[in-house]
């Protein structure tokens, strides 16, 4: 056993990994952005010296990742404070800001925030004033398409710190079929000590599930499901289950959330809704585990099918046709 399967096994049950393909485990973990989480899961376990040194370095690195992520959030807070609007942190940064178990070893790329749609222009202006810049030119088809249909502003990057910020106004593209209730996400958000916010626990899981299934081609899926596993274990209770179901229905994401729970249970043993895997679930599982001991993604046809699916879900056919036409004839 090696690659993604070994990685899942090691995360789920670190004590069960005895002698194994360590390079394969490390390469898969790095490819899936899970090396930090793995390193913490393996802490204290019997591991060969060279590999233990890697894990130790990854654990230390994690602390700096957290520092930098929280700093980006803080600088964003300083820039937006005068606007007096709710600023909701999302994804990895939110986990770190709230000290959730899902933050342990969690890597962070960009800063993701959610703000009310009607204040987007003011937010964009304030960020630009504070030193963020647009990554791509702000005119033309790409930019206007993005602003009209996507769930976020075109990406901004800070000119000194070189870190990106994604400003969302909802959690799925406007062209996707489920229409999450952005106002409800903000209304139910939880206030942190510094005045920033995070989504309510149930909404965090709904967001993770949405991000995993309806938004993309499942790249990074193993990390997403690990997030969901950690989140569920931290918040689980009968009340919470009910709440999660309610919110999933409210945001029209009951299907993806249920699928996320089944897969999380299947891979990581999350004490979630069991329930038999559907045929589609098994395809998802195969796609999620399609990484070998060299860190390569295998099963090209399956990956391509999911890639198409990602595009399909983001855009209805006539729009897709027009979009592809414009791109092709430019």
């Amino acid at each position: 056993m090696t690659g993604a399967r070994l990685l899942v096994r090691a995360l789920r049950d670190p004590g069960a990994i005895g002698e194994c393909d360590w390079p394969g485990l490390v390469s898969a973990a790095r490819a899936e952005q899970l090396i930090g989480s793995l390193a913490f899961r393996m802490e204290g376990r019997k591991v060969p010296e060279r590999i233990e040194a890697l894990f130790e370095a990854a654990r230390r690195d994690s602390a700096q990742v957290r520092t930098q992520a929280l700093w980006e959030a803080e600088m964003c807070r300083r820039a937006l404070a005068p606007l007096g609007i709710p600023v909701v942190l999302m994804k990895g940064t939110a986990f770190h800001a709230a000290g959730l178990e899902a933050s342990i070893g969690r890597s962070v790329g960009d800063l993701d925030i959610l703000v009310p749609r009607d204040r987007l222009a003011a937010v964009e202006a304030a960020l630009v004033e504070a030193g963020w810049e647009h990554v791509k030119p702000t005119d033309g088809y790409d930019d206007s398409y993005y602003r009209r249909w996507m769930h976020e502003l075109p990406p901004l990057i800070h000119k000194d710190r070189d870190r990106m910020i994604d400003v969302h106004h909802t959690i799925l593209p406007l062209t996707a079929r489920p229409r999450p209730d952005a106002a409800a996400l903000i209304a139910d958000s939880v206030l942190l000590e510094n005045g920033l916010r995070i989504l309510s626990p149930a909404d965090i899981i709904v967001h993770a599930a949405a991000h995993l299934f309806a938004d993309g081609d499942l790249a990074g899926g193993l990390r997403n499901l690990w997030d969901i596993d950690r989140l569920l274990r931290e918040f689980d209770s009968p009340d919470f289950r009910r709440r999660l179901e309610e919110r999933a229905r409210l945001h029209q994401l009951a299907g993806p959330v249920a699928r996320a729970l089944r897969l999380s249970h299947r891979l990581y043993g999350t004490p979630a809704a069991a329930g038999r895997l559907t045929l589609a679930d098994r395809l998802f599982e195969a796609r999620l585990l399609a990484r070998n001991g060299w860190g390569q993604e295998r099963r090209k046809l399956l990956r391509f099918a999911f890639y198409l699916r990602g595009h399909w879900l983001r855009m209805p056919p006539p729009m897709l046709a027009r979009h592809l036409w414009i791109k092709a004839t430019r």
């Binding site: 060279r50 040194a53 890697l54 700096q64 860190g295």
Partner: protein, 288 residues
């Protein structure tokens, strides 16, 4: 992966996988005499893969992949597969190394004292280091200097020296033919030839050294030597480090420690022999 090779260089172990045999054969010849990693364990994985499946055969094109990748990196023709492997190893170190502070520098050692030479590409550090390696100095590395985060000592990382264009001829006159890799013509940086460090450098690749001098060499000017202010040294070294920022407080402590305790000089030199002479002078002063 169809073919694979394991390599240990100083404290770092790599596994390199390849869809083609030739680059790994060339790599194995270049690194003849290097120890293999124990137990098949490694720190980093490099993969040489076809850019697209059919590019394994049709105009074979080597994409440099592995644990850490540069998303927009251009692939190389198969004839330059050895270079791709070397670049792949550099990339893993530059993007993924967290155990030591990395400085983009060449390091040579004599009598336990090491000189760290750093500066822009083309400043001639590799050539200088390679030459000194044939003149009684131990070559510790030509690409990366590894600084212990607690002790401040330097660990050897003696990769094959990457010689470019004019430097190739200079070193062909100094080192035995068997230590050279193939001449790779027409790379983005011109002609490249790799030179394996000598037996002593390989045998002593586990031996640390104390940094005694930081040198900023600049090729192509009349010979001159001047001191460099500590703040300038600090700034230039952060620019020369790929992992300083990621190392946080430990990186700060290691680098300020280095800058405060190790003298720094900038030298201009019109030719390598002049530089070698200047460095021999420094060594005498340091030993005194």
């Amino acid at each position: 992966m169809r073919h694979s090779l394991a390599l240990r260089i100083g404290p770092v172990a790599f596994r390199i996988g390849s869809a083609w045999r030739a680059p790994l054969d060339a790599l194995a010849r270049l690194y003849a005499g290097y120890p293999a990693p124990a137990d098949g364990l490694c720190d980093f994985t490099v993969r040489l893969e076809p850019e697209r499946p059919w590019r394994r055969f049709v105009r074979p094109s080597v994409a440099i992949r592995g644990d850490y990748v540069l998303p927009d990196a251009a692939p190389l023709p198969l004839a330059h597969g050895l270079l791709a492997a070397e670049m792949g190893m550099n990339l893993q170190m530059a993007l993924g190394q967290r155990r030591w502070l990395l400085l983009h520098a060449a390091t040579v050692e004599k009598d336990g004292r090491a000189i760290v030479m750093t500066g822009e590409s083309g400043a001639g550090k590799s050539t200088l280091a390679a030459l000194l390696g044939e003149r009684g100095w131990r070559l510790m590395g030509d690409e990366f200097a590894l600084v212990d985060l607690d002790a401040g000592t330097l660990l050897p990382f003696p990769r094959a020296v990457s010689l470019k264009n004019g430097a190739i001829g200079v070193m062909e006159a100094e080192a035995e033919p068997g230590r050279f890799g193939p001449r790779l013509a027409g790379t983005p940086k011109g002609d490249i030839r790799h030179l394996r460090p000598n037996r002593e450098a390989i045998a002593r690749m586990g031996e640390r050294a104390k940094p005694a001098l930081i040198l900023f060499p600049r090729f192509g000017e009349a010979a001159a030597v001047r001191g460099v202010g500590q703040a300038e040294v600090f700034m230039r070294l952060t620019q020369a480090s790929t992992n300083y920022v990621a190392l946080g407080r430990r990186g700060f402590d290691a680098l300020t420690g280095l800058v405060r305790t190790v003298p720094a000089l900038a030298i201009d030199y019109p030719d390598t022999e002049t530089a070698v002479g200047l460095i021999a002078d420094f060594r005498r002063e340091l030993a005194a």
